[in-house]
């Protein structure tokens, strides 16, 4: 998908190249929430530029390393955000017109350490984790479901793929934290039963300051739930709190949330206090009969997420056309 070029020669040419980049290669940093700084400012790490050819869907990222310039060609019509990571790494997120093109790049060698597609990646405050939605195409003929994935930024490619998944796989990356029961196998989020189609209903993922919990909203066939994923070491647990109409609409007389779209914006997961964690959730209902409301949830308001599963796809045998 992406290509790496490392040039240690032709310094003059590289210098000229960088001058060209500096004219056209500003990275806008338009999505600071990816770096864990919603609404904040994340400066572009020094000596990094990019030039994009929107018409061809290609971006070239350049890193000045000592006297050399490393260039990476990324499948992105623009570079939207670069986040510095520990261990001399960078997270580079490109726009594709569809899902995000997520790249992990070595700032010391210019090597492309991993590259994959996902939706709405957000780094935890301690820069250990990346929560995201599994890739699916923008335009589909078959039902799809959201599948929420956790990527360990301290591990390499192999450490973020299930055994048996190719290291070149650009979609089955990370491990599933919700819906519980899915295992991030190839294509397990598309062509799924209609009653298993989860939808993302918050505008982003929201990490707790201690990076040990992340919250977001999910809608399963009209039932809105707040999803809480706790991270303890390498272990994750997933909990859900179905939002009632009293919570979501301010009107308990409304029969269920399937009638309305209720969006969650900026839920705030507080710090762990003993076994409890307070989560404040502003809720905005698109339904006209609802009023702006919000709820404060505690650990006891959540239940462990139920295991969901459906039979693996059974395809007719593939038949190859004879060579002409």
């Amino acid at each position: 998908m992406n290509h790496v070029f490392l040039s240690s020669r032709l310094k003059a040419a590289a210098f000229t190249f960088c001058l060209t980049f500096s004219a056209f290669g500003q990275i806008v940093q338009k999505r600071p929430e990816i770096c864990g700084s919603p609404g904040g400012v994340v400066p572009v790490p020094p000596a990094i530029t990019a030039i994009s050819d929107r018409s061809q869907g290609i971006s070239q990222l350049s890193l000045k390393i000592g006297d050399s310039v490393a260039s990476l060609q990324l499948s992105a019509i623009a570079i939207e955000q670069v986040c510095p990571l520990p261990q001399g790494k960078l997270l580079v997120v490109g726009e594709t017109g569809g899902a995000d093109n997520v790249n992990i790049v070595s700032q010391t060698t210019g090597a492309l350490l991993d590259s994959f597609y996902a939706w709405d990646p957000v780094i935890s405050p301690d820069q250990h984790w990346l929560i995201m939605r599994k890739f699916y195409p923008v335009h589909m003929d078959v039902p799809y479901t959201e599948e929420y994935l956790l990527y360990d930024l301290t591990k390499d490619k192999a450490g973020n793929r299930l055994s048996g998944v190719s290291l070149d796989d650009s979609e089955e990356v990370g491990r599933t934290v919700y819906p519980v029961g899915l295992e991030n196998t190839v294509g397990d989020n598309t062509n799924v039963p209609e009653d298993k189609t989860h939808r993302f209903y918050s505008d982003s993922f929201y990490w707790a300051p201690d990076s040990k919990a992340v919250v977001f909203a999910d809608n399963l066939q009209g039932t809105l739930s707040i999803v809480l994923v706790t991270v303890n070491g390498n272990e994750t647990k997933t909990y859900v709190h179905p939002v009632t109409m009293a919570e979501g609409c301010g009107d308990p007389s409304k029969p269920n949330t399937s009638t309305y779209d209720i969006q969650v914006s900026h839920p705030e997961a507080g710090a762990q206090q003993g076994t409890d964690r307070e989560i404040r959730i502003p809720i905005r209902a698109s339904a006209p009969v609802c009023k702006v409301t919000g709820v404060i949830l505690h650990s006891e308001d959540f239940q462990p997420a139920k295991v969901e599963s459906y039979p693996p796809h059974q395809f007719p045998p593939s038949v190859r056309a004879p060579e002409p």
Binding site: M1, R54, G57, G97, V138, H139, S166, A287, P288
Partner: protein, 545 residues
């Protein structure tokens, strides 16, 4: 050429060629190229699938040089599948999933109301006296004219009060002239009670204080207190909303039967996020019978669901029916997207795996198997675009969909394990479709290969997905675009037909202080799905459902 199989063999015994011998055909014609094997014993076995789907066998004896003739071995598993050799053929025309419902047509609201117990209007009694009355709340005002061919007309001012439902007490005073043409001083202060008995009928009772010189008293001179008269009027006060049309930004109201009164026009609804319904006064002014036009003030409304227009005049309140409603999404950023075209990306430089047949695109002859694929060259950037976008137009196959977008066959052996170089060929007549399974259009009316003639209304992509559980968007929703000058976008209404996963963001202060984000389909060709660089524009978006 004649469809028969011919055989010419060399005899080991004589080293002579037999010459061409016709074996005829089998099963009504060959559906496959016959195949031939020579067994260890030297017999030659020829097999072929006939047009009837059965397997046929013919064999040549090595000892007798005799042909057995075609034997029908029948078929298995419901029929034999024929896999032809050779290069690509045109993708097969087959139905795609059934499109979701057609678009909602904009509703023009209407309603009418009459208040028969309102005394407003022009009444006439048995003596041709006329009473022009206007009721405002519990007060009545107006005038009455007594026609007298001998002593001339006299006109009084009338005031009065509502005393009950449809009952009134009226007083006439200030006669003009004060002395009639016969020299009589005209009386003032005469009173009467009026009871409305029907929309056009009432009974008036003269209550004094003295007879003569009064319209209330009948024929001008009257017969004293207690006399009664029948009143009639042509029509009761009626207010009619003849057309409340958000698309044309007009509310047409026709007033009949009453006098001049305050006409109040209100728009009723509920703002998003606010539980209490509210009303916006669109007009409040004195109006008499006639037709009057008002406007919605579309660019100054708050986002929300609007459910009715009401008009109140002379005690009657008309309201649009329950089918009238619209939802102001808000000031909305309309970005643009298009379908990637391979010929805009460059020449083929990689190999892809193309499924020719699958559930939505089976072979109509039934001969090609499901999940029949072939390897074909494609441009690598185009492949990336089709993978992420889901759809693209290849130079060789026409419309392709990514493996993830259809996923009705497994990943072919040898293809990338994540399916990123496997695609499904779409029948050209199906064209480019969105999540609602309808053919996408940009509404321009211009012919574009796989978008038909781009008919109205142009397609838009929304978030949440219109094809799903969302209450905000449905596949039948239409959207009216209004510019900041209050004018409808000249390119017409738009139709929710597709999902825009990124439209939950991409609006706000960075995009002209917009409240929402909708992606507009453009049939222009480019390598990427974002080749149409500019936004469609920022508009006030009104959802019509």
């Amino acid at each position: 050429v004649d469809g028969n199989l011919y055989l010419n063999w060399l005899s080991w015994a004589t080293l002579q060629w037999s010459g061409w011998v016709s074996l005829g055909n089998a099963g009504g014609g060959f559906a496959t190229t016959p195949s031939m094997v020579i067994q260890q014993n030297g017999n030659t076995v020829i097999t072929a699938v006939g047009a009837d789907g059965n397997l046929y066998l013919n064999w040549l004896s090595s000892t007798t040089s005799q042909l057995s003739g075609w034997e029908n071995l029948d078929s298995a598993g419901g029929g034999l599948v024929v896999v032809p050799a050779g290069g690509a053929t045109s993708p097969i025309s087959q139905p795609a999933p059934t499109p979701d419902p057609p678009p909602t047509q904009p509703v023009v609201g209407s309603g009418s109301a009459t208040d028969c117990n309102n005394i407003s209007g022009t009444w006439t009694d048995n003596y041709s006296d006329t009473f022009s009355l206007t009721q405002s709340g519990n007060s009545v005002s107006g005038s009455t004219t007594n026609s007298n061919p001998i002593c001339g007309d006299v006109t009084w001012t009338i005031t009065g009060q509502v005393t009950g439902s449809g009952t009134f007490s009226l007083t006439e005073f200030n006669p003009m002239p004060a002395v009639d043409a016969c020299g009589h001083t005209v009386q003032s202060g005469q009173t009467a009670t009026v009871t409305i008995t029907g929309c056009t009928t009432a009974q008036e009772t003269y209550t004094g204080p003295s007879p003569g010189g009064s319209s209330f008293a009948g024929g001008g001179s009257g017969s004293g207190g207690g006399s009664t008269e029948a009143w009639t009027r042509l029509a009761p006060p009626t207010v009619q909303i003849t057309a409340a049309d958000i698309v044309s930004d007009s509310i047409n109201i026709t007033l009949t039967g009453g006098g001049i009164d305050t006409l109040t026009v209100t728009l009723n609804g509920t703002t998003n996020g606010v539980i209490n319904p509210f009303s916006i006064t669109l007009a409040q002014e004195s109006q008499g019978p006639g037709t009057h036009t008002y406007h919605f003030g579309r660019t100054s409304l708050q986002p929300g669901e609007y459910t009715s227009v009401t008009a109140t005049w002379n005690g009657a309140t008309a309201s649009t029916g329950s089918n009238f409603h619209f939802n102001l999404i808000g000031y909305t950023r309309f970005s643009q997207y298009n379908t990637p075209y391979e010929n805009k990306c460059g020449p083929a430089n990689a190999f892809a795996y193309i499924y020719r047949t699958y559930k939505y695109n089976p072979d109509p002859t039934g001969k090609l198997p499901m999940c029949y694929w072939e390897s074909a060259p494609l441009n690598s950037q185009f492949m990336n675009q089709v993978t992420t976008n889901g759809t693209g137009i290849s130079s060789q196959y026409g419309p392709l969909k990514s493996w993830g977008a259809i996923q009705m066959c497994g990943i072919p052996k040898g293809a990338k394990v994540d399916g990123t170089n496997t695609y499904f060929a779409i029948a050209p007549n199906v064209g480019v479709t969105g999540t609602c399974n309808g053919k996408l259009s940009d509404g321009s009316g211009s012919t574009a290969g796989y978008n038909g003639s781009n008919p109205q209304s142009g397609s838009i992509a929304t978030n949440p997905d219109p094809h799903g559980p969302s209450a905000t968007w449905a596949c039948s929703d239409m959207v009216l675009l209004i510019n900041s000058s209050g004018q409808n976008d000249s390119r017409g209404l738009r139709w929710a037909q597709d999902l825009c996963p990124v439209c939950s963001s991409g609006f706000g202060s960075s995009y002209g202080n917009t409240d929402a984000h909708i992606d507009t389909y453009n049939s222009g060709a480019g390598c990427t799905s974002k080749s149409i660089g500019n936004d469609f524009g920022n508009f006030y978006a009104i959802r019509l459902r």
